[in-house]
Symmetry: none
Subunit: 248 residues, 2 copies
């Protein structure tokens, strides 16, 4: 097994387990403890896990994608439909923010028809797509994270604070039972918060898989979102005012 392959396995185990001991990893991957320790040290250096005494804990499970379902995940028709509905909310001449996630990536395809819009994003893949479609695009700066090809951290937040945004489109890891949008990654949450603060209107793209998932960091309550775009009517249970929901 290649080293990079082992790294991926560790990350995908941490995606499910949240916390894993070095000892257990060494049994699961059939390598010695020193090797696992070196792996964990390296993954910690890359900011992909958080090292702790005895093992490691996860930080960004959302972005670890297994080889088999990768294309499906990104190009899913489900997400495409959400993106189309999202793009319908954009008017000509607007300044919009789109956060970096596999869910929002396909919005690029539906924004082409808009006139004179400006898009701000922290996702490099999305930014590149947009630019190639002749859409005026700003990308936040900062360190680039390998798994998501996106910017997080104070650089990105400072950048966002310079803009007045009309509409902000985002996704996140899950919605817990109290209707709070949550994510396992603090940096991602902070970037989204910064963007929400600068925006007149917020739109949450929410596929079915996200319900009853609770992860450490709170973003905002789903009730505070202006529009929820979803393919699952379950969403109604969390909302008071019906007309904020767009079910596709």
């Amino acid at each position: 097994m290649l080293k990079e392959e082992r790294y991926d396995k560790i990350l995908s185990i941490l995606d499910k387990e949240k916390y894993i001991s070095a000892h257990k990893l060494s049994e699961m991957l059939f390598v010695s403890l020193p090797t696992i320790r070196r792996d964990l040290a390296e993954l910690d250096r890359r900011n992909q896990i958080i090292r702790s005494h005895g093992g490691a804990k996860a930080i960004e499970p959302e972005h670890i994608v297994t080889p088999l379902n990768f294309r499906k995940t990104v190009n899913s028709l489900q997400k495409r439909t959400l993106c189309q509905a999202a793009a319908n909310l954009v008017s000509d001449n607007e300044i919009i923010f789109i956060d970096s996630s596999t869910t929002t990536l396909q919005m690029a395809d539906f924004l082409v028809e808009k006139k004179n819009i400006t898009v701000i994003t922290n996702g490099i893949s999305l930014a590149t797509l947009l630019v190639q479609k002749d859409i005026k695009t700003y990308c936040t700066g900062g360190e680039i994270f390998q798994n998501s090809l996106a910017h997080f951290g104070s650089f990105a937040e400072d950048f966002i604070r310079r803009f007045n945004i009309d509409t902000m489109f985002f996704s996140c890891h899950g919605v817990n039972n109290s209707g709070m949008l949550t994510d396992p990654s603090l940096p991602e949450t902070q970037v989204r918060k910064a963007a929400i603060n600068q925006s007149k209107k917020t739109v949450f793209l929410c596929d079915e898989s996200k319900f009853s998932l609770s992860t450490p960091y709170n973003l905002i309550s789903i009730k505070e979102v202006d529009y929820v775009i979803t393919d699952s009517p379950i969403v109604r249970d969390f909302l008071d005012i019906e007309n904020k929901i767009i079910i596709v």
Copy 2:
């Protein structure tokens, strides 16, 4: 079996598997290990796979940033040689800046071997390449320009001013007869100036085509550059101190 045919097979295997060892490939394709290693080296050079110790890993579809037609202009051997010489000037643990241009793009290939370096760039294609090769990469933010897939403008300049850079690598459009480096784009010139101001050392990558070209905006005189890497001895005419030139 033709070589290109074998390349195709390797790519299609990696399309399904994500990781593959050189050993396994040699069994599957009935050729020796040295041959597989040469194949993998070539495919890595073409940025179609990512080489790693023991085998190779696939490039994830999401990570493909450069348009297809980009490659022809960029992959010239001439530029590659300049980039290799440039990379030789980088030591472990350094913080370097690489400006966005087709000339500097191939530096990514030669920086892999350095340990613990940090690269700052305004070029998105370069940044994406670097990140995939596990190099700590910061990209300046700002508007993205379609032609160059790069950031310019005051956002980018502000970003650069936050760093202390050891070495700054750049190219520009031309060198005029007084030895002044010039460029037709003011924003590009400004970004380069900002980066030069933050840097202890500057390195100019200069291929033959650049001489006697005068364009509107002055960057600095070639005499102020710490190292000039060139494939053309004509450069000597513009310089006093010989040891700043590296002719490849």
